[in-house]
């Protein structure tokens, strides 16, 4: 079990290196190997399902003991399990989807980078050591930058790649500054697990550095300006990975590191972060309504939906915090499915402009059904996973932040507006397709690769408790740690109180 962790993390990368030894022209072999590796990773990651809420697969090897202690410490526990499974599931779908994207001669590189990207994400979600976490955090930049600049083939994509690199690079460096400031006090990357005392001011700054990096990566308003171009001009498999999985990295960082390490600072930052969360929720929704480009529309809806998770975490309510993983997993599935499906649409009509095409359901009814399920899940239709996450979060936040909850509810209504607009203008009405477009029905491969995502969306929508029962104790413990430490700090730091009790 313990040794399986490394297999799961590195199998995609190893598969990628195997690809490099296959001739570039042998596309069937390349595809076969890549898909086998990705699916095998997914199947292996399912082996961790039985670990439950108290057990954990934990592997820790001495690594660096110079000026500080760092371990090669990877772990799959209740907190990390569903991030890992989400990554392997979406990863397998994206690798399969990648078969029909990009320039044929560059397929090998495309698959290699996607697989490498999957390894960096798996490494991030299993890292239990801060140095390891940061290494994967920064390494993620490389495959995305290269995929975006090299494989979309358009000038806009190349420009988007620079935006992505500089913005996320800046976020990463701020995080690095925060981490080193912390480590130069405690001389260990092996956190949490080390007890330490920081002075309150330093803790405030360090948490701020973490928060900014996480806000950029998610992204949240006003750190999102890299997102629309990146999501719009990326090839569909890449954007499905970035939006479906990579956007969870920052929130995972909060749950696994920032909140347990700096509970006091988290509370003093909460008022500001709550405002940003609500702004993200509303801004994303309004921007999505006004958007004419299908992928940009989903990008903004993503901004709005992930705002809910920021809101949930900093409302510090037990229900909302413990539903955040459900919401994250659900958003990952929905966003990946939507972007993959829109990729299929774009492949057929060669445009993303909503005004340029419509009525595809006549020729491609199954594509319409698939897109219907995904967009209904995104707008929060009960019975699908999007509803379960949002509903639980709002129930929780209502108890601590009623005003912000009301504002967030507005965005729930707006979600219906933009998702219905997306679906209706692409699928309903009379058929309008640009000249030279050939609308064909979904191929079996396309259905098979999206179907698991939709199945998971329906499953979690019908039975959200299945996932929630497998995550709570971790998140609960974190929350109680927060409340207890806030209680003790009430006398010492009155300004903290306002953050928690308002």
């Amino acid at each position: 079990m313990v040794n399986l962790i490394n297999t799961v993390i590195f199998l995609p990368l190893v598969t990628g290196f195997v690809l490099l030894f296959v001739p570039r022209t042998a596309t069937p072999v390349l595809k076969g190997i890549a898909l086998t590796g990705a699916v095998a990773t997914f199947v292996l990651s399912l082996a961790f399902l039985p670990i439950g809420t108290s057990a954990a697969a934990d592997l820790s090897v001495p690594w660096i003991s110079g000026p500080w202690l760092a371990l090669y410490h990877v772990r799959i526990d209740a907190l990390r399990l569903f991030f890992v499974i989400l990554t392997t599931l979406v990863g397998a779908g994206c690798i399969w989807a990648a078969f029909s994207y990009g320039i044929a001669a560059r397929l090998r590189g495309f698959l290699f980078l996607l697989l490498a990207f999957e390894t960096t994400l798996l490494g991030l979600f299993t890292a239990a050591d801060l140095l390891l976490f940061y290494i994967y955090w920064d390494l993620m930049l490389i495959p995305v930058f290269l995929l975006l600049s090299g494989y979309a083939g358009t000038e806009q994509a190349r420009r988007a790649a620079w935006g992505y690199l500089i913005y996320n690079g800046a976020g990463g460096l701020v995080l690095l500054l925060g981490i080193i400031a912390l480590v130069s006090q405690v001389h260990s990357f092996e956190l949490p697990g080390t007890t330490f005392n920081l002075n309150a001011q330093l803790e405030w700054w360090i948490f701020g550095a973490f928060a900014i990096a996480f806000l950029v990566k998610t992204p949240a308003f006003p750190f999102h300006s890299w997102m629309p171009p990146t999501y719009t001009y990326s090839p569909a498999p890449l954007v499905a990975m970035v939006s479906g999985v990579q956007s969870k990295a920052g929130l995972f960082g909060l749950l696994a590191f920032a909140l347990p390490l700096f509970p006091h600072a988290a509370h003093s930052w909460a008022p500001a972060l709550l405002v940003l969360a609500v702004l993200s929720i509303l801004y994303g929704a309004f921007a999505a309504i006004g958007e004419r480009d299908a992928k940009t529309l989903v990008a903004f809806s993503s901004l709005s939906h992930l705002g809910f998770v920021w809101f949930a975490l900093f409302a510090f309510n037990i229900t909302s915090v413990s539903s955040s993983i459900l919401m994250l997993v659900s958003h990952g599935l929905i966003a990946a499915a939507l972007f993959l499906l829109l990729g299929f649409v774009e492949e057929r009509v060669k445009t993303r402009e909503l005004s340029q095409f419509g009525g595809l359901s006549l020729r491609a009814p199954r594509l319409a059904v698939f897109l219907l399920i995904a967009s209904m899940a995104a707008l929060g239709l009960p019975g699908l996973s999007g509803f379960a996450g949002e509903f639980l979060i709002l129930i929780g936040t209502w108890q601590t932040q009623p005003l912000y909850t009301l504002l967030a509810l507005v965005a729930v209504v707006l979600a219906s507006v933009y998702m219905l607009k997306l679906f209706q203008s692409t699928m309903h009405g009379t058929e309008r397709v640009p000249y030279q477009a050939a609308v064909i029905e979904m191929r079996p491969r396309e259905m098979l690769l999206v179907a698991p995502l939709l199945a998971a969306i329906i499953f979690l929508g019908v039975w959200p408790g299945w996932l929630n029962d497998r995550t709570p104790s971790m998140v609960d413990a974190r929350l109680t740690v927060d409340t207890r430490s806030t209680a003790t700090s009430l006398q010492a730091k009155p300004h903290v109180e306002r953050g928690t009790r308002s």
Partner: protein, 480 residues
């Protein structure tokens, strides 16, 4: 020789070995004008190996010889090893092009060796006169080497610029040393420390001039203007040698002066911190617009020198370990990058222009991947030696008070800018499938050795930095 001065030959053995290697090259070249260049450079590499072997017994045992003028200690061992590595790789890179050595391989090889000896003298120098001697020996040989590509006008220009500005720097150094002697009453570093504790006006002036002289040699901003031109004009292998060996040797002197004379919190070092901040900014920002790779690496080396100074800002001898780690990482990546250029160039000048790297990944995947690795390491992307070096630097800076904090923030900002600078090179190799007319095609063995050595070192020290600590037990024990 005055009575009482003892000479410890083991301490001098590496220098003696190198010197004999240099003389042997000249002799062989003199006796037979037809001797192959490979033989001469082979002798050069062999003398590097011999000198390294002569160094091994010294390791871990600090010793001062020649009446306190020359030391073999923690300041010198790793610097010496780096210098020898650089020299060996420079020989490998020089073996390709006839024009690189102006057709006179014997003199070229001997000069490279004498230059390195100058660097080793600097690394061990324990008084002002020996420091100056080492710097002069290094510089004089290098002035000539910069001009050895003389069929190209740019090389002559580089040599002339280097001579003029370098001599000016030497003037500052010797004048500063004279004032320091006046202020402290001694030429060795120990009395200087006493004078630094209670500085007189004379001491301040002398120390300032001394720092200016060193800053010239290190190409720190605002004393950097010669560097991009000289880097661009000099023959490729000499540029690589210059970018690494000169910095390593000058940092050896700087580290010793900072640790022995000043102390990391000394007010006297504030100008040094300002130089570091300026270098990080100007080096990275200046590199943005460069389209010539040698010039780009020239600016990059300015920024990297700024980073290295950050290592001196923190408390304790952990700073020395940090400096050595970063310099090792810098040496490996820079030499590796020059190795790729030499490999591809194979006698032409196309390797230096960024445009000829368009789509390189699809024509020459391995050299392109190696180049990407070296540039990622210079940028400080994780899993490379450059990354681990950078987090060590940040930790030093954050333990170094307000100036340390300022340097940490500048370092982070400079790194962000460098993402663009180094990313652009990778981008050229990768984002376009079409190459320009001049396709680099070289595939010789010698530069491949440099590339593979650089790549291995970059990855191994990046993923397992513990290996570096294990090789420096003397330093790390002192750091704890």
């Amino acid at each position: 020789m005055p009575a009482g001065v003892t000479i410890s030959w083991p301490v001098l053995a590496p220098i003696v070995a190198l010197t004999s290697g240099g003389l042997l090259i000249m002799l062989v070249d003199l006796l037979s004008r037809k001797v192959d260049r490979a033989v001469l450079f082979g002798i050069g590499v062999a003398s590097c190996v011999t000198a390294f072997a002569a160094m091994l017994p010294l390791y871990g045992r600090e010793e001062v010889t020649l009446g306190g003028a020359f030391a073999s200690d923690r300041f010198s061992w790793t610097f010496d090893a780096l210098l020898l590595l650089t020299l060996a790789i420079t020989f490998l890179l020089s073996s390709l092009r006839k024009a690189e050595d102006g057709g006179n391989a014997g003199a070229y090889g001997a000069l490279l060796i004498f230059c390195t000896i100058g660097g080793m003298v600097m690394a061990g120098a324990n008084n002002l006169i020996i420091i100056f001697l080492g710097i002069e020996q290094l510089s004089l040989a290098l002035y000539v080497l910069a001009g050895t590509g003389f069929p190209r006008e740019a090389s002559q220009e580089a040599a002339l610029k280097y001579v003029l500005l370098g001599s000016l720097a030497s003037g500052f150094l010797i004048f500063g040393s004279a004032l320091l002697y006046g202020a402290s009453g001694g030429i060795s570093l120990a009395p200087l420390a006493a004078a630094a504790a209670n500085p007189s006006g004379l001491f301040v002036a002398g120390f300032a001039l001394f720092l200016v002289g060193l800053a010239f040699k290190l190409a720190l901003v605002p004393f950097h203007t010669w560097a991009p031109d000289v880097y661009e004009g000099s023959p490729l292998a000499v540029t690589g040698f210059m970018a690494v060996a000169v910095k390593v040797a000058a940092f050896a002197v700087l580290a010793r002066v900072v640790y022995v004379v000043a102390g990391h919190d000394s007010v006297a070092l504030i100008p040094l911190w300002i130089l570091a901040i300026l270098s990080m900014l100007v080096g990275n920002l200046g590199a943005i617009r460069q389209r010539n790779l040698k010039r780009l690496l020239g600016y990059s080396s300015i920024a990297q020198a700024g980073y290295v100074i950050v290592a001196l800002s923190g408390v304790g001898s952990g700073g020395l370990t940090t400096m050595l780690f970063y310099l090792t990482a810098y040496a490996l990546t820079t030499l590796g990058a020059f190795g790729v250029m030499a490999l591809l160039g194979d006698g032409s000048d196309s390797y230096a222009e960024l445009d000829s790297y368009r789509g390189l990944l699809f024509r020459r995947p391995l050299p392109a991947a190696a180049m990407a690795l070296f540039f990622f390491s210079l940028a400080g992307i994780p899993a490379t030696a450059g990354f681990y070096g950078k987090i060590l630097l940040l930790q030093q800076a954050l333990s170094g008070g307000p100036w340390g904090l300022a340097m940490a923030v500048t370092l982070v900002f400079g790194t962000l800018v460098s993402f663009y600078v180094y990313g652009k090179v990778v981008w050229y190799m990768y984002a376009y499938s079409e190459g320009e007319a001049a396709l680099p095609t070289g595939n010789a063995l010698a530069p491949w050795i440099a590339v593979v050595a650089g790549a291995l070192g970059t990855i191994v020290f990046g993923i397992l930095p513990q290996i570096f600590y294990a090789s420096q037990p003397f330093l790390t024990a002192a750091a704890k």
